[in-house]
């Protein structure tokens, strides 16, 4: 069924109006900027807006009105689109990641043009994974989960499309901007002011949609997964706005000065950076875990109380932890101490979530053994526990004096992103794709098993090699001989990295292979879509027509 057929003609008209607005915005941006990345980004928005106008306009009278019964069904078309975008970003951004890993070993293995230099491609990898892959997965699953756990249909049919398409436009602006050398030079917040403003509009729409849908819920309470998703949406909005406060140099160029200065700028940046890890890469995905794991295992959540403790513990303690990124810097010592201690206190709520997830599997361990999809979720919970322990440990100031600026940090991040975030996303995707495309199972069930083992092997090789790399670097950098001179020159520590960088490239390549297999498997499943419908999977109370 065409997506436009899920919209009433009024909704199609609203869609045309918004798309036309986007086209006008793009034209204005291109006209004001004339040249450079901002002009190109304006052109992209213009083309996208016009394409949507024609797509919706062509369907305006041709497509039949959706059945009046649609209010008695969940609205899953945006989730399907979000999953496709998740897979596209996964393969793209992980591919760039493997390329960058290879550049550490073969520095010349890139065309000698600025766009493919390490410095420009690195944020394409990080933003592509965090926002493109992770963000699409979070938005897509949050739409699915909020409807099921509220037993209510999404509050309207236009804003989920605005959120998803607008968010992906932001991601494409970000990635293409980096390749053209456009950056705010703030890690994970590189996109320039106009992209940031656009994301604010998208994000506020997202939050409003989520709250409006929750308000329609047929259940008296709000499930913990929704608390996590809401904290993700709300806090990311707050972080994004505060860290990106900047003055454009002119209205006609994607260049700006941040309003923060000096060590305050560093502190704001890492308050943002660490809470991006917390509220983008943790709480959102905990929401995913809290829905898909019990559903797949067919087990009740082990402890309601522990869910509550973890949620408020994580939300409260994480907010303080960002300064552990700035140990032994110009940041005052007292701020470092607070960051360190709150990072340590954060461990227990984090482990409570991981433990709650694992204890939920009591009575379902035979399913973990037999079902690769549930095994993805189990491994995600285990890596969540490992990564949060490692994070609290690395935040302790003397430990950080060894690990800071080394590849241990990179290994830690990937233990979280590969082992936890990507694993839970793959678990959710393998749960959702058959269901949303009307089938009992994936097209190639055996490939899921292959993907699992590729992913776990790749993750372990990657993480273990970078632990070794980082600890080796840290020890070499701090070693002095009996005469008080450095024991190693810097280049010796670089040469010592070669075997580890080769191994991390291999690990990343295995993980990428699994992701490509997943994307192909999903594509085959989508092409062989069936008409299976779960009659019980419906809103509890049909909502009145809008």
């Amino acid at each position: 069924m065409a997506v436009t057929a899920t919209l009433t003609s009024t909704e199609r008209q609203i869609g045309i109006a918004i798309s036309a607005g986007l086209a006008v915005l793009g034209l204005a941006m291109a006209a004001v900027a004339k040249t450079g990345p901002m002009a190109l980004h304006g052109g992209m928005a213009l083309v996208l807006g016009l394409a949507l106008v024609f797509h919706l306009g062509g369907a305006l009278y041709d497509q039949p009105e959706p059945s009046a019964r649609r209010q008695a069904e969940y609205y899953d078309a945006p989730t399907r689109f979000g999953i496709v975008m998740t897979l596209i970003w996964a393969v793209t951004a992980m591919g760039v990641g493997v390329w960058l890993a290879a550049l550490m070993y073969w520095p010349e293995a890139t065309p000698p043009v600025p766009a493919t230099s390490f410095g420009r491609m690195r944020p394409v990898h990080t933003s592509g994974i965090i926002f493109g892959f992770g963000g699409n997965a979070l938005i897509a699953t949050s739409f699915y989960v909020v409807q099921r756990t509220s037993r209510a249909r999404l509050a309207d049919a236009v804003s989920p499309w605005f959120v998803l398409i607008g968010f992906n436009l932001f991601c494409v602006w970000a990635a293409t901007g980096y390749l053209m050398g456009q950056t705010q030079s703030k890690e994970y917040a590189e996109p320039e002011w106009y992209a940031d403003l656009w994301l604010v509009v998208v994000w506020v729409t997202y939050f409003a949609l989520y709250i409006r849908t929750l308000a329609r819920r047929a259940e008296p309470h709000i499930y913990v997964a929704n608390w996590y998703y809401m904290s993700f949406i709300l806090v990311v909005a707050m972080l994004h706005i505060v860290n990106n406060l900047a003055l454009p140099v002119t209205w006609g160029a994607g260049e700006s000065y941040t309003i923060w200065t000096g060590v305050q700028d560093a502190m704001i940046q890492w308050w943002y950076g660490h809470n991006a890890v917390a509220f983008f890469l943790t709480t959102g995905f905990l929401g995913m875990l809290y829905y898909f794991l019990p559903v797949r295992a067919q087990r009740p959540i082990w402890s309601y109380r522990l869910s509550i403790l973890s949620f408020w513990g994580i939300v409260f303690f994480y907010m303080w932890a960002g300064s552990h990124h700035l140990h032994y810097t110009a940041l005052p010592y007292w701020v470092q101490t607070l960051g360190m201690t709150f990072s340590v206190m954060l461990l227990v709520p984090s482990w409570a979530s991981a433990g709650n997830a694992i204890a939920t599997l009591n009575g379902a361990w035979h399913k973990v053994r037999d079902d690769a999809v549930l095994r993805f979720m189990f491994v995600a919970a285990v890596f969540y526990g490992l990564s949060t322990f490692e994070g609290s440990f690395l935040a302790i100031r003397p430990v950080n004096s060894l690990s800071h600026y080394t590849d241990w940090t990179v290994g830690h991040v990937h233990s979280g992103t590969l082992g936890w975030v990507a694993m839970i996303v793959f678990g959710a995707i393998y749960s959702l794709v058959p269901k949303l495309w009307g089938r009992a199972d994936m097209a190639w069930p055996r490939a899921v098993e292959w993907h699992f083992w590729l992913a776990i092997t790749g993750t372990l090789i990657y993480v273990v090699s970078l632990w070794n790399a980082g600890i080796t670097q840290g020890l070499m950098w701090r070693a002095y001989d009996e005469g008080g001179a450095l024991s190693f020159s810097f280049i010796e520590s670089v040469e010592a990295m070669l075997p580890y960088y080769a191994a991390r490239t291999l690990g990343g390549a295995l993980f990428l292979t699994g992701a490509v297999l997943c994307a192909l498997n999903c594509r085959a499943t989508m092409r062989a879509a069936g008409d299976r419908v779960d009659e019980a999977d419906r809103p509890l109370v049909p909502q009145p027509a809008e």
């Binding site: 559903v295 010592y333 007292w334 101490t337 001989d481 001179a485 024991s487």
Partner: protein, 306 residues
């Protein structure tokens, strides 16, 4: 909210009992979110104990270390630690440790320094770190050089290979910003006629093997234009930065094509000066280290890279 168990969600309206999970034996909370239920498991004691432990750790850290802001001040901590003072103390310790041997290099009596094996055993590995961190990016890990960057481990020198000469080069650089920098320029000879350029290129290329014709027209051109800097017959050694053209060492290359490029465009290599980054003692240690690189090469020069 009612406390009557019979009215709680999921409770049996007659007995007030709620659904018991057969695996764990716990009752559920009565919530049902699209099929997801929750057990009413109490807080595990171990989680509360662990939380208490981390809080105790934090409180102790707050007491000992600078921790909480107080308006314009902050709690200093009973240990009275200050990260600036601690960092300075650590740097001072290392400086003191190094002073034991490094201070001896403030006096550039290189012969005496070289004759002290105990001193050399400490100083030369340290000078190797200095070389690797500051010099090897251009001159290579073992001093092997590369196109544009002279070899250091052979016996050919532009500005002298004695430790005091090398120390001066390190102090002031070559074509650098230092007011007393060594200065050298190979001018462009693009005003020469094409056939003259070609003849000189072939002549210079042949000089290395001694096969250049000493009576040809090119020899005259060389004597008129090149010998002032490169010496009669191109033997170099004038301590002006112009290399010998008859030995094995090359900087940019001595094939006819490269010589032609040099003649057309000129050359003006740059060696930065280091007196702002390294102390005199460090420069002297490094100069001795580099001098010993070529001493190790001995009387059999390793010759040119490219």
């Amino acid at each position: 909210m009612s406390t009557d168990p019979k009215t709680l969600p999921g409770a049996d309206p007659h007995t007030g009992n709620r659904e018991i999970d057969p695996v764990t034996g716990y009752d559920t909370t009565g919530h049902d979110w699209g099929g997801i239920k929750e057990l009413n498991t109490p807080f595990p004691k171990v989680a509360l104990a662990a939380l208490a432990l981390t809080v105790i750790y934090s409180v102790i850290a707050w007491i000992l270390l600078p921790a909480w802001p107080l308006g314009r001040d902050y709690t200093r901590g009973v240990l009275g630690l200050d990260q600036q003072a601690m960092a300075e103390a650590r740097l001072r310790n290392l400086t003191d440790l190094r002073a034991g041997w490094l201070n001896r290099f403030e006096d550039p009596d290189f012969a005496a320094l070289s004759d002290d094996p105990a001193l050399m055993a400490l100083a030369m590995p340290a000078a190797d770190r200095l070389f690797q961190d500051n010099c090897s990016a251009c001159h290579g890990r073992a001093g092997g050089g590369g196109p544009g960057f002279p070899v250091l481990h052979d016996t050919y020198w532009l500005w002298g290979g004695a430790p005091q000469d090398i120390a001066l080069t390190l102090q002031v650089g070559i074509n650098a910003d230092h007011p007393e920098t060594r200065w050298a320029q190979m001018p462009a000879f693009d005003w020469m006629a094409d056939e003259e350029l070609s003849e000189v290129s072939d002549y210079v290329a042949a000089m290395r093997s001694g096969e250049a014709d000493p009576d040809g027209a090119a020899a005259t051109l060389f004597a008129e234009n090149c010998a002032a800097c490169h010496g009669e017959g191109g033997v170099g050694g004038l301590m002006n930065g112009a290399p010998s053209l008859v030995d094995d060492a090359v900087i940019y290359g001595q094939d006819a094509d490269t010589v032609m490029t040099t003649l057309l465009n000129g050359r003006q290599g740059l060696m930065p000066y280091w007196s702002d980054r390294l102390s005199d003692a460090e420069i002297n240690a490094l100069a001795l280290y580099v001098a010993r690189m070529s001493d190790a090469a001995g009387s059999t020069p390793s010759g040119a890279t490219e």
